[in-house]
């Protein structure tokens, strides 16, 4: 089964537990099979199936709940990017162990978590991410930048506590 392990990993990251992740993957495969005719050959299959999974998640109960947690700077999700600041903390992630990175990722709002997973874990191009999340390519860049900043901030907070 193509992408099965990866889809499951992604689903578990989104849903947060095994049962919901399994339901998500199962429903994704079912929808993909049923709607395979809607897949246009030549377009990105990976983006197509991740989009199904992600939309399925967003309409699930957990998905609706987590999507309601919108970050404060969400409204400013445009092409203007905040400058990255070179502080000692910015190189903190160099020593970021798995445990801390996972905790921080878990605490991120779902819109940041998913884009980080698609970019870093699935290694999707901006174009693929844009197709998966149905957002413009410019928004992919700015949201990614915010997501990385949010991850860094969360990790710092976690480390302090």
């Amino acid at each position: 089964m193509p992408l099965f392990d990866r889809l499951y990993n992604f689903a578990h990251w989104l849903a947060g537990n095994r049962e919901e992740a399994e339901d998500l993957v199962q429903e994704t495969f079912a929808k993909a099979l049923k709607g395979f005719s809607s897949f246009q050959p030549g377009t990105n299959f990976r983006a197509w199936i991740y989009r199904i999974l992600r939309n399925t998640f967003l309409t699930s109960r957990t998905g609706l709940k987590s999507a309601a947690t919108v970050p404060l700077d969400w409204e400013a999700d445009d092409d203007t990017l905040p400058a990255t600041q070179s502080t000692p903390e910015s190189i903190l992630l160099e020593r970021l162990d798995h445990q801390l990175a996972r905790q921080a990722l878990d605490q991120l709002p779902v819109h940041y978590r998913e884009i980080l997973l698609l970019c870093e874990v699935e290694e999707m191009s901006y174009q693929e991410i844009s197709a998966t999340l149905a957002i413009p390519a410019g928004t992919v860049m700015s949201r990614l930048s915010r997501a990385r900043r949010a991850l860094r901030d969360t990790a710092q907070k976690l480390q302090r506590s």
């Binding site: 990993n9 990251w13 990255t84 070179s86 970021l96 990722l105 980080l116 870093e120 874990v121 930048s145």
Partner: protein
């Protein structure tokens, strides 16, 4: 100052999404800018940290994998396992049948035409003959017994009183190597030949009933109780039709 420009592009840089020209320019800038260099290193490290922490973090268990595999396999089986061979064989067989049928049909058409022109020949030969009939009689009760022992079947002749048709006589005829009866009728000045043969001499060549023209003669043919009748002559199709129905009603 230039940092403000580049800072917004560091993410795209570490993601390898900058256009080649921008990438070269940014790399040049990083050599001289400690701040941007540090930021890009931090971004890259964070990227790798997330990758290492989140990849394969959760693995599906074997039971779930098997369950999905089963649900994927069940509904798709009919389509995926669709065996083309029997379908192809059936198509080929159907095609062959069509070809064979049309071939047989054409062959029948050819043989039917041959038969009809033979009949026309027989009719013409009779007209041209010095002795057109072997038994000269207008009495059906004379003609019918005359055939006894000469042909392997018998037939009935209609009562012609009150009709424009006159029985002239009869003779033995041969078609497809089988003997049969040829009856000669006259309507006004036209001569009409009626051939009667056993149906089995023609196999499936002839349609059960047919009417048409052969060498400008009108022809009617039909099959009754194992006998095949042909009515051929230069009389009108109407006259032939009347004679045919008289013959049919007598059998």
């Amino acid at each position: 100052m230039a940092c403000g420009l580049w800072a917004g592009k560091l993410d795209a840089y570490v993601d390898g999404e900058l256009p080649p020209a921008d990438e070269r320019a940014l790399r040049e800038h990083l050599r001289g800018c400690a701040s941007c260099a540090a930021d890009s290193v931090a971004l890259l490290q964070a990227k790798r940290a997330v990758q290492a922490a989140a990849s394969k973090r959760f693995l599906p268990d074997a039971g779930f994998r098997a369950r999905i595999q089963k649900t994927l396999a069940t509904p798709r089986n009919p389509r995926r396992n669709f065996n083309w061979l029997p379908a192809l064989a059936a198509m080929a067989a159907a095609l062959l049948a069509v070809v064979a049928l049309s071939f047989a049909y054409n062959r029948n058409r050819v043989r039917e035409r041959q038969l009809m022109s033979e009949l026309a020949d027989l009719h013409v030969a009779t007209l041209a003959s010095a002795n057109p009939v072997d038994v000269v009689s207008s009495d059906r009760h004379t003609v019918k017994p005359w055939f006894q022992g000469k042909i392997p079947f018998t037939f009935n002749l209609p009562e012609l009183a009150g009709t424009p048709f006159v029985l002239v006589g009869a003779r033995i005829s041969y078609l497809n190597q089988t003997p049969g009866a040829e009856l000669i009728f006259r309507v006004r000045l036209h001569q009409i030949s009626v051939f009667i043969f056993q149906d089995r001499a023609f196999g499936t060549v002839l349609a059960r009933e047919r009417a048409g023209r052969e060498l400008s003669f009108n022809v009617q043919s039909w099959s009754r109780i194992g006998l095949r009748y042909f009515v051929i002559g230069d009389a009108s199709a109407d006259d032939l039709e009347k004679l045919a129905s008289l013959l049919k009603s007598s059998t």
